[in-house]
Symmetry: C2
Subunit: 340 residues, 2 copies
């Protein structure tokens, strides 16, 4: 396994984006977010996603020069048209704006319509938490999962993020609505392994941990069966009604790539408007202590708080370099005009 | 199976609450919410919960005369002390207040600290939707589920609700963080049945659909495995930081019954501040159509939108009467001073 330093990966991705036509300052930010995703262990939306991102730019599915424009200002809530600009930049802008509103009043909500794939949703949770804010955000997507009770796709995989700032390490949940991603199924199948827990139905409608059988049936499992299915529907329609943008059904028709013209919601809350830092430290400390003091389900096991493993992976990858697939790395170097 | 009319059930529960010391107007509202829960098929938090509720009043764990008092006003966000008053009344008040704030600005958030069990969380989603608002709410609870990776309890089952108003029937998600409730395990075991899907781990740490084995190990499964576990943690700490109240760890120490001195968050959004009714109808219509047109996974199967089955059950129970367990019904009549 090859490991690449953070700086080399970022510089290479940036070159690829500049060559694809993105202004240098924007390419710099996008390259950082892709690199941070890989660095945190979310490989699917980091380096591995660069080639497809460049394709989308070439197809005209992302307007590298577009910026979000205010549609409506309702005080604590603002609505922006993302104008099909880079999803990362639009989402960063929106979460930042939500924190600016919350700075004043404690609470800010910013929604985006007509935006594009934000890559790793967790990035905007970490962003809010780094600034000292509670962050909640979600996006809708094209349909890619059967609803509960169906065997054909009909609902989005709509990631949902909640983040709470904490000195010793933010507490961050970043979850999509499927139990596993198709990326995870592929990786597991290529290793000739089974999934740790059932991840979908096979062509006979039987719940299975065989990744290949699920790739074939396209029946990935909503997390929590009917619960994740219902949650996906509500996240979808609320993001549309909060932004005036397309639902999953509309994104399907629009048909400009994954998350083309999707909607996103960003909520920021300033916990220091409500509590003292001492109260916050105590509340979060007691929660982490309670988690850490529960009995692990296996020998030498450990119970992690949400976000803890991302931080561990980040620290390791910053020190040792970020692991890459050689084929993917060479492809991105090629897109960056670098001879391997 | 005995069926009781809505009105008879409500009147009987009301008498039981009045006899327990609750003022008549408050007893009327609480009885209605309990009856509506049973009527919608949420039997565990309807009639079946009345006996325990009365016990809590007698133990002094609920102050039947307390009302929520404003702790802090931050514009779009208000924070109230629930003063250990009846959880149903506090929650109704809070969601109603959130809609009042949202009426003006589009968005309102009200949080409660020091409140008590709200019974069926979905009630407050339906309440917001009935008034034409999008409603989002959640509560924290005492710990009752092992976190992912643990075999002893440490996290709350923190229900989470999202509701969207729709003429033909609101779209409402009402989910706790465990895949199944202990109530569901008990009912399934008593019928000598297996759970439809795995619902926890047995004493050997093996995932199982045997309800009795899970009741024994106390290792109910968070929905979506690690996902529901992480979601529960974030709902808990955010409800505490938004209200200045106790986390799950604090509720455990406080030790005054299920959800004693818990925290709740209520968000209301006025979709008509952002969209025309025509846009809303189209967006929701397209989503329901897409769901309904997916291929069912079994012959004569049907794909439901979230909340649809509650509405069907409600309509049936209003027509035929609400099914009750005779033992439970007689007990509530006894508490109401009615000779069976």
């Amino acid at each position: 396994m090859t490991r690449i330093t953070f700086d080399e990966m970022k510089a290479t991705i940036k070159k690829a984006f500049v060559l694809a036509g993105m202004p240098e300052d924007k390419a710099d930010i996008c390259a950082r977010i892709h690199t941070e995703s890989s660095c945190d262990g979310v490989y699917s939306h980091g380096l591995n996603r660069v080639e497809r991102y460049v394709e989308y730019i070439h197809k005209g599915w992302i307007d590298v020069n577009a910026v979000p424009i205010l549609d409506m200002n309702l005080g604590a809530m603002e609505i922006y048209n993302g104008n099909m600009g880079p999803g990362i930049l639009n989402a960063q802008f929106a979460m930042n704006r939500a924190t600016e509103i919350a700075e004043k009043n404690g609470l800010g909500l910013v929604s985006l319509n007509n935006t594009t794939h934000w890559m790793r949703g967790g990035a905007y949770g970490w962003q809010a938490a780094d600034k000292g804010f509670i962050g909640i955000c979600w996006t809708n997507t094209e349909s890619c999962m059967p609803a509960w009770g169906a065997k054909s796709g009909g609902i989005g995989n709509n990631p949902f993020i909640m983040a709470v700032p904490r000195k010793e390490g933010h507490i961050v949940l970043d979850m999509a609505m499927s139990q596993y991603s198709y990326g995870k199924l592929q990786v597991t199948r290529l290793k000739n392994q089974k999934l740790p827990y059932p991840g979908g139905f096979d062509n006979n409608g039987v719940l299975t941990d065989d990744p290949g059988a699920i790739e074939e049936s396209r029946r990935i499992l909503p997390m929590g069966f009917w619960k994740g299915s219902g949650f996906a529907v509500l996240l979808d329609i609320i993001s549309s009604l909060l932004s005036g943008g397309l639902t999953t059904a509309g994104i399907d028709k629009f048909d400009k790539g994954s998350c083309g013209s999707c909607c996103q919601v960003f909520i920021a809350i300033n916990p220091l408007k409500i509590n003292t830092q001492e109260f916050i430290d105590k509340a979060l400390g007691a929660t982490v202590t309670q988690l850490k003091s529960s009995v692990p389900d296996r020998e030498n096991g450990e119970v992690y708080y949400p976000g803890e493993q991302s931080m561990k992976t980040r620290n390791e990858n910053v020190k040792l370099g970020i692991p890459v697939d050689d084929g993917v790395w060479n492809k991105v170097k090629e897109l960056a005009g670098i001879n391997s």
